[in-house]
Symmetry: C2
Subunit: 92 residues, 2 copies
């Protein structure tokens, strides 16, 4: 497996690690999203100080308004953060 | 750095490894895209048999029709492949 394929597998693995904790096994609830952000995106997003911050991210990601973040919605977050990170490298 | 942050860093690193080879340092030319697919996505896409296959992928990705694949267009490819891969895991 190449480095890029390993990265793709890691993104899937991390999603399911949290989505499987409670309720629908294939979507992130508000609590699961909060844990994922806290444990996996601390360096990018910092530790959310209050539940309101997580609620705000949840609302922005939850495109179909079902109160859950599915894999596609999760990938939008990863994409946005990765592009922000890459922007510092001169990408146009 | 968490596993997820490592994956994001790897996606950036792999893009620049190829985009920096010739021409515009921050976009993938047709030849650079072919090398990236061959070397980094062999398990997902197989080795493209002919230049026509790469041309087809390039045309689909090159949303702004400048003959180059920029980071955002590259991320669309990674996203599509990751979602295809995840779909086998019961994601709705």
């Amino acid at each position: 497996m190449s480095q890029l394929e390993g990265a793709m597998a890691a993104m899937i693995k991390v999603f399911h690690k949290y989505s499987g904790k409670e309720g629908d096994k294939y979507t992130l609830s508000n609590g699961e999203l909060k844990d994922l952000i806290k444990n996996e995106l601390g360096n990018f997003l910092g530790i959310p100080k209050d539940q309101g911050a997580v609620d705000g991210i949840m609302k922005k990601l939850d495109a179909n308004k079902d109160g859950q973040v599915d894999f596609k919605e999760y990938f939008v977050l990863i994409g946005a953060l990765t592009m922000l990170s890459n922007a510092g490298k001169g990408q146009k």
